[in-house]
Symmetry: D3
Subunit: 341 residues, 6 copies
């Protein structure tokens, strides 16, 4: 087994109509489980690390299903708490062509949103860990979830563990004002921040002025400004940004950038034909954490993360089920998709 | 179109693993929609009546799905309110042989549970109606839901509309004490009460002493006592009781009883091979309301209700999708299941 | 390869809702192909005979699908004509418990119903054959279909080929009067007649007086009278009758009788748990033809036919996909269903 | 509810092999319901109008299924007649890449093709309506269907109701000569004509000389000539033309044109990645009728219609299940397909 | 976590046609993973024990799939070796009514059959364990597999760990002579033997004279003789026998017996309606090991084991996915299958 | 029926996760049957030739399934031998976007790999045949399979039958050295060789120097050199090469070249949107054989072959299910994929 990595957050039941059906056509829903930090843990377990996911799920079969989904892929669930009323759910309709994917959240009052400070023994959980990861979704779930996230991040920092945060702004969960206040506090314990083009603006008011993301045009310089400002404001080690240009719901351009205070490393840009883009950002985070933990440097790290997340778009569900071999093959240039016999 | 009937309550998304899968085996869930009063409305629409279902669903596609399911079968949804946070959900694992079916409710904070008194214009909704039906589930959802149920029942009574109530005790929704208090108030406006062997005991403390329902032995006399006491206590026109003897999750004996103050009419007893027993009681209520509304007398009415609900056990989902022709054929004695070409 | 057997009739596309869904619940239909004489041909091909099915299908892919279904199982389709407007269709809802299976025919104007006398070269088709089989459905399709059936039966008789007919009365296709007239003419060329309890009565007015088939009570003596009268009236070699007692749509009692002019051989009676009962009678005919062609005598023949058709009830679709080994094992007494490893 | 719109025509059961299977691979068929005018009614109901679809379906469950499909989506079916022999069917194999989609019609002798003049009370049906819509398919079904279409169009015209016709030439249903004769008579009552590049030529001999549609090259000027000639010949208010350039069965270019006698308004051109292109033209008609009924002007109207029908290509089945919000978002420029959370 | 239990053997990919399809009808196969000792490990993990399954799987995705199936349910896979050529496969057609289930094995040359002595560090693997379990299948796979089984059993015995063996004779894997020789050697290290009515006879020539299992008649006394002789011959602590009476492939009678040298404890006899009977014996073994490990006595132990395996028949796949709560409820008498809400 | 063509090789069960699932996500596998020479036989049967496929399959239902798949499509299976231990299997995960398809072979010890020289009566099998086809896979299966291939090719040559070979190098089956030795011997009897860009290099060391196939750049001149050298070295009539440029797993460029000693005929180049690319080369071979057998000349032949195999990429499974009409329409220029009504 490799390094121990801990991630903390919510895992939800995701229900999506089969194929390209719309919600109103569905007579069944495909069920997978996912959530920002769980998705990162799965990526890391796939890459051979000792990944632990910490959450709370209700003490019934549907909670168990979420745990089983993680266990199946080798994520350690030793620290998953049981209790609370319900498992968060989200409904996800996969788009096609000009029709956008749609997400309906039904996550209020989930077990993890109702945790209380002190429920998790962070010093114990984090013992021996090299890395701790969370996203901006977890503190947005509830005030107590924010408090527990703070416990975790602070404990990790105190123990000398690297901390990464994916900003992940969710406007339905909290206001920009509240996000700014809570996340600014959390960022004090963060070493590596990850975000997309909207997160920094929505949460911290740091904007990439000239971009118009719905048109698929990205201004690289603006993003460099954002990365620099984020790093400066919160004293970060490095900042990574995922760059998505939506041609349609079926085709996107995808790349990433990593800024370490010296250089802006930009990955190759992939044209992806989308099977499922949910979890794209998480798979980038997972790839980046793996890259940095195993000693890759700037350009290599961002290429690994970008290749990993490029592949995610071809995998159904929130979890990125690819191996380091597959990521490395793509990162080193073979995107031809020829049959592997 | 036939008589106008109004039912009021919650409609939920039901998610069940395909076939006989257990929850932990499911990679998809079959989706149907159902709820006690909605199920009754569907039965009545199938029988040709003008059935209206009143509820509140969230203003998003999943709420719309529930409405569409009702519209598809001809239930009128003109009075369905939109708003609130979520659609109630329940997970349902279908049992087999000695393995019982399991239900996990995730219905707290549904749109209908959060309604406020005054949201529905009952005088308008009930105009021209011959019958109003509710179950003991609706007032159990929340205090405001109980208040609105009371509004509806009282208005119906004032307008000279027949009112029926299926007692339907749900222990996870409220205590026996609270159920007793709230339901006793509601029963003042009820003409026809329907229940199974547990309801009267759990809600009103009226027990069928000698029965041992898990063993499949039912004592008819005890149930007659229950029916008489229910009728006496609340001044009811009539009382109907469904009698289920569980041989296993695959095979049940099923019959019904109707007491009108004079006679105890007991239906034929069916041995049912179960496809889906959820909604069995509701399909009995639907059959009974149809029978009484169309002028059937005691024995005929209970035979129609019992045959209707016998057939329900062979239909997947909560809704009973059978026609009067099918019910009448069974009630008049043809249960051979020979192919109808 | 074994003996050459020719059957003639219609093959239809059968569309059935998955599992136990009702028609109004179906969002897809399982597609199989079947028809009385095609089903017999499949049985015989499974038993190793050289079975030819003769029909006409439209010259498009759906016609080809029907041919492919037959070819897949080894039925020879060399004499299948192409042309006409459409492939007959029937919708089939599988029943359960007290809910009967339902069949909706949509077979009018099918290619085979529109054939003209002289389209088939019967002398050529029947060359080298040992047996020719048809059912009472084919002449009921249209006047020209009846004429062609007559061509075939007469040619077979002239060539010294054994002819069997499954009476198979279908009330939606023709009146009893017309059936009587047409079938009486056809019976002149028949050696072996097969029917169920209703056919002889509906077509020829030969009734089994005391039976009440919807109640699952069969009077054996009455059926002996029917067999004797059928044999006498049309100068048959032998008469076989299938005996179904419907307990419910899920459970039937099933047996068969064979009368050869001397003895009434009655098979064991099976209690079948039904997967799909369509084609039950055809699988009996197929078993009987095989038995008689391979030299089995009265009791053995009817036991083989009854065992074959008992097994059919466990096979989805119209075709009986069982081997002689399986039939013989059951006929010789092993109905325990123990795993064959 | 919004304006009352009435459409009249056939609704069929559509059976398509799952995914990209060919007919000969199918062991099940996905079942949806559709037909030109029914599809328009669904679009309009989705946009909030009071859409009525008038047809006749057989009085059995398969006919009911078609009605239920319409009811589910809010289309009023009060005027659907029952009777006749069968529901029209069409088999539809969805193409991919260079392999074209294939359609096999099995619609002869459907209930609607067998209606008789006088069966529908058009004055009653059209009372209060703002718009009546039919297509060139309905009068092609049979002489009586043509006569009834004429009844409807004439009654609508007499009542001052706007009438639109989608030309929709179907070569398997009638000859060009007959189409010309019947449609020319019907066009006397039409205000708005809609067609694609072939319809005007095949029916009225009005051709877009230089286009070669199989090569994906469309000559705009030629279409303007067609539109002008159509408008002039039949005294129309306006003429709309849908412009499809087939790159392959998977990718098309799609746009529309509207000519109101003064200006030729051409919509944006979309590159669509096709989920299901059946009903594309109907969804354009539905969008256009909604646009014109709600007061949009030339350019806005054609953009709404084109955006609506662009989205249709991403929706499985004949029906276009999109909302005005979705259409407006695309029409106003967001075709990026970004996730809507 | 509870006691550590180690089981050793093969895990295979099981491929079964959906529902009740026959092999020749299948266009897809449902995939589960199973094998005698893996099934026992799953039962024990479900009951809360620390269950380890030891095997070898090929180093590709299909091998990983088998590991994931175990991990998903909480079985520890730390000691699973990687390598070899292939994963064993078996095809399984589920029977119905009089049609028997059929199994086609394709397991030759699997990774576990090709292991070499010394590949597993048994002292390390078994450290801290309370129980070791194997079946008669593993030594039948190959001579080296037999040798490794012997290593394991001897090491366990030496370490004072309880050893159980399910006799499980598979005639396609080895002759009775070889089975007798190899198993007799292995039995020297066994404390608890488990078998069905055939195993003792086929392997050791110890027969239950008067039984005729294909007729569903079991002679209890004969089985007592078998148990006594087995215990005596190999110096066992106790002997358990599962008693299956096959009414048909759909319905079986099921019970168990436990003999501890003093008393013959016979469990209640269940009539099971079969969803999937594969793994029935393994689930009995799992229940028995759990019962004995947690201190249940004779009658209680056999009732727990019988109830556990009764429930297995209602669960699809080889694995028994039931909880101790469910087993205990059934063992204590509630087999009514009433809905658990 | 047309010309008799015989192909010889292995047919395997192919198991692929539904849609774009990865192996580790699969809970079922879609089952089709295929193999290089079987695929060619299917193409030829679809084109109306009398195609015979010769192989050996185990004498159980899974072997029968493979035979049925061939029979269904009209391939003659008269010469298929029965026996041996197992049917070869391969697992196939369909890729998407940058994620490559993956194939896991499990074909060792299949029935056909274990044949012995002399098992097939080649003179009898090939009597009346015009063409014999094999691929480089069959002799790679085992030494005896190579010997039998040699028997067949030599017999065909002796009988004056045209012989074609698809080189098809499979590195997991044999080394380049062995391939070179065995194939060089076989090539002495070959008239037409078919290969892709790798085969000639891997087997015979004849390389297309400047190409870099993973980047999608093909150097036509280099391939001409390869074709010339192949033709010269083995005295071939003609050499055909398929040219695939992989843009991604979802999109490929596809074309073919045919060299007859005089001219290099290069087909149109197609951009294919991939449904299933397995069997692409075989469908080219099938198209080429048909073209040459029916007298098409160089350019026409390669266009037919390229169009046939272009269409294959849109068909699920190994078999190419397209008609000559469809191939000719595409070869003559219509790749627009417009609906065929």
């Amino acid at each position: 087994m490799g390094s121990k990595v801990v991630t903390f957050g919510e895992i939800m039941l995701r229900l999506s109509p089969p194929g390209h059906q719309r919600f109103v056509q569905a007579t069944s829903f495909d069920a997978v489980y996912g959530g920002g930090e769980a998705n990162v843990a799965v990526s890391l377990a796939n890459y051979g690390l000792d990944a632990y996911f910490v959450t709370k799920v209700p003490n019934h079969e549907m909670g168990q299903c979420a745990v089983n989904a993680l266990r199946s892929l080798g994520v350690h669930t030793d620290y998953v708490a049981r209790g609370g009323d319900r498992l968060g759910i989200y409904f996800c309709e996969l788009g096609a062509s000009q029709r956008a994917s749609r997400v309906i959240y039904d996550r209020a009052n989930s077990a993890i949103a109702q945790i209380e400070p002190g429920e998790f023994e962070w010093a114990e959980i984090l013992r021996g860990a090299q890395w701790f990861h969370f996203t901006g979704i977890t503190p947005a779930l509830s005030d107590t979830a924010a408090a527990v996230t703070l416990e975790a991040a602070r404990t990790a920092k105190d123990m000398g563990i690297k901390v990464s945060a994916d900003l992940n702004y969710r406007k339905k969960l909290w206001s920009q004002e509240k996000a700014n206040r809570v996340m600014s506090e959390l960022m004090r314990y963060v070493d590596v921040a990850i975000g997309n083009e909207e997160d920094a603006e929505k949460i911290f008011g740091i904007s990439a002025h000239s971009s118009d993301v719905t048109r698929g045009q990205l201004c690289m310089e603006a993003y460099q400004d954002v990365a620099q400002e984020l790093r400066r404001r919160f004293g970060l080690d490095s900042v990574a940004i995922t760059l998505r240009e939506s041609i349609s719901a079926s085709d996107n351009m995808w790349s990433g950038m990593l800024y370490n205070g010296h250089d802006f490393h930009v990955s190759r840009k992939y044209r992806v034909h989308i099977v499922d883009r949910v979890g794209g950002g998480d798979s980038f985070a997972g790839g980046l954490i793996y890259a940095l933990l195993t000693g890759m440097e700037g350009k290599d790290a961002v290429e690994f993360a970008a290749a990993a997340s490029c592949l995610k778009h071809s995998v159904f569900g929130d979890f990125n089920m690819v191996s380091t071999l597959e990521v490395e093959a793509l990162a080193s240039g073979d995107g031809s998709g020829r049959v592997q016999r």
